[in-house]
Symmetry: C2
Subunit: 383 residues, 2 copies
């Protein structure tokens, strides 16, 4: 007998009713679909905490990152891109591919980006047209202080573009209050839906840039999206991924029912419980500044244990899917996820599976000590 | 009691097992997904009739049209784009947005593009880098002679790029034998899967152009796709639309089981049966050259009947979804689809619903005459 447990930071577990919502497809030029789309757009505004337009594309999150670049800038525009992990690097790559003048602001993997560095760089580069930041850098577990960055960027003409792909709908994210001009996300993380939809929330400040941007785009064009979505019965410019939109509609209803405050609290408690377990097992947290690191917990693999082997063993032996390290962290860290459709028993099962896994590789610890530490935090919480 | 019948040329009906395949998602970095992806890539090659690489993107078909342009050309490259309907116009738009030097070769809506015109234009423009053609122009019902065009383009250095979105897996399409360099398609037509996946088959001749192309692209980059898909366990560069790939896997197994020859024959018979019904009802076919028009049958709405009203009535009264006209054909034609997951009783129901609809608007005809003509063709066939 084998049961599978998806404990990865993306795709994340999908509730059965969300999965089932894909089975029976409505027609995308019917009023029924228009109603679903309207509800989804409203739901996204709720989750994004924004009055801005939110657009939906049939694509991975990376498509929406490209959309932000292609719609807001022109070749040669100077942008500051913060990069401290795989997803920051991706934003650097995209910006370069599109011919922007990219000032890469690197910060050490496992640490947070520093708002003071941004202030300095903006003073030295007053012609900066955009600042790109990853909210939750899933490759390291770090969650950056978007609010602090937003305050700084808002005082300049630059646009503030944030990759909120793995954070939206899970941890606090305030598009409007934090002055985020283009907030990028996707269906497959906090929104508990299979991958294939991406979203962008676009501020008035960003719209002005869109008007004058000279980079080519067609499929990801914000103006086309706005025109179609603004119709009396909202549409998308091209055939939408109907079944995924039906799925996210169900997921957004779940989010509304639980309420963002409760959801944020749940992720906070699960992050804390997971970190407590890791510490109790004598393991080292990879993300040193982890006060907001409530999407996934990155852990340094104990000496002599390749994290890739550990991950593989846990998958094959127990059907438990956790993630290893990516890029230069391959083999060195593993990541325990707690984003989206996770409840307390998922957290406990994950730590428990980790203990079985570590035991198999001869790591020494008191069996059950991780689970106990985890349960203690969970029992003390209101979640 | 109301039952819905989707008889539109996109999205097309989805078999229940294909729809159900979306419910339970495997993890996209697991071996299970790698196996599914490998099977899907093989299945696509079978349907495309190609030895070329086929790439999968999470996007609408329009995304793959943009991909073809962005990967194969550089700003200022001269291309000849054939346009005789909404989807030809889209290829013109995309090519212009990306800064190509576009020679628009217009042909009348409802007629086929003429290969002799291409020969003339290529002689007059020996510096042409690409020729774009729509195989099945779904807005008019016309199906172009890709084979004849391919023979002509193959004698020049130009690339032959074909939008086979609504035709692939339904009517004869030969990527290799017809010299198609970039063949574009999507999940939601002949492949009987919900929308959200697009595909491109890329020839060696096209690869050479990809190497020197200077247009920006990232999400739709052919090179990244090739790199990821060529791994021992194939992957996609960015998170794939897993549930849709699971669905198309089931659909492709159905296609293999029926076999392309049988599928082509079925579409031919259904096209012929539908045209026979239309004629028997005293209606006028919009596509004059309809020898290959086996995707959808476009019909001139009788005088005094707005096709949009007819379509709406049929939807609201009977739950039967047929399509009206698009763009300049709005109100003037309606379209009866027979692409993908259609069997004989769908064809009969569609004609029958049309008769009920026409009757309601006071059109004079012998009730049942359309259905009888349709059944006669079906009974005479081997399908």
């Amino acid at each position: 007998m084998k049961k599978d447990y998806i404990f990865t930071p993306g795709p994340t577990p999908v509730p059965l009713d969300v999965g089932m919502a894909q089975v029976n497809m409505v027609h995308h030029r019917s009023g029924d679909f228009g109603e679903i789309l309207r509800r989804v757009l409203d739901g996204l505004k709720y989750v994004y905490r924004t009055k801005n337009d939110v657009f939906i594309f049939a694509s991975s999150g990376t498509g929406a990152m490209e959309a932000a670049v292609a719609n807001c800038f022109s070749p040669g525009d100077k942008v500051i891109v913060f990069s401290g992990g795989k997803f920051g690097e991706r934003f650097v790559d995209i910006s370069r591919f599109f011919g922007l003048d990219v000032l890469v602001s690197e910060y050490e993997w496992g640490t947070c980006a520093n708002p003071e560095v941004l202030s300095r760089q903006l003073r030295a580069n007053p012609d900066t047209k955009g600042v790109m930041l990853t909210h939750s850098e899933t490759s390291t577990g770090v969650v950056n202080d978007v609010e602090a960055f937003g305050q700084i960027v808002a005082q300049t003409p630059a646009l503030f573009i944030v990759d909120a792909i793995s954070s939206l709908g899970a941890i606090e994210f305030e598009t409007d209050a934090w002055n985020v001009d283009v907030a990028i996300s996707g269906s497959q993380k906090g929104l508990m839906t299979p991958p294939g939809l991406s979203f962008v929330a676009v501020s008035d400040k960003a719209w002005k840039a869109v008007e004058s941007s000279k980079l080519p785009r067609y499929y990801f064009c914000f103006k086309s999206a706005k025109k179609s979505q603004s119709k009396e019965i909202p549409e998308t410019p091209y055939t939408p991924a109907i079944t995924l939109i039906q799925a996210v509609d169900v997921a957004l209803a779940r989010i509304r029912e639980e309420g963002l405050e409760k959801i944020y609290e749940r992720h906070e408690v699960f992050g804390k419980a997971t970190r407590a377990a890791v510490r109790a097992l004598g393991l080292e947290l990879f993300a040193k500044d982890n006060s907001r690191a409530n999407i996934c917990t990155s852990v340094v693999s104990p000496e002599g244990i390749n994290s890739g082997e550990l991950v593989k063993f846990m998958r094959n032996k127990f059907g438990v899917f956790i993630s290893g390290g990516q890029a230069k962290l391959k083999g060195k860290i593993f990541r325990l996820a707690h984003v989206g459709y996770f409840d307390r028993f998922d957290i406990i099962s994950q730590i428990s599976a980790l203990e079985f896994g570590l035991g198999n590789f001869g790591y020494e610890f008191e069996p059950g000590s991780g689970v106990s530490a985890c349960m203690k935090v969970l029992m003390e919480s209101e979640v």
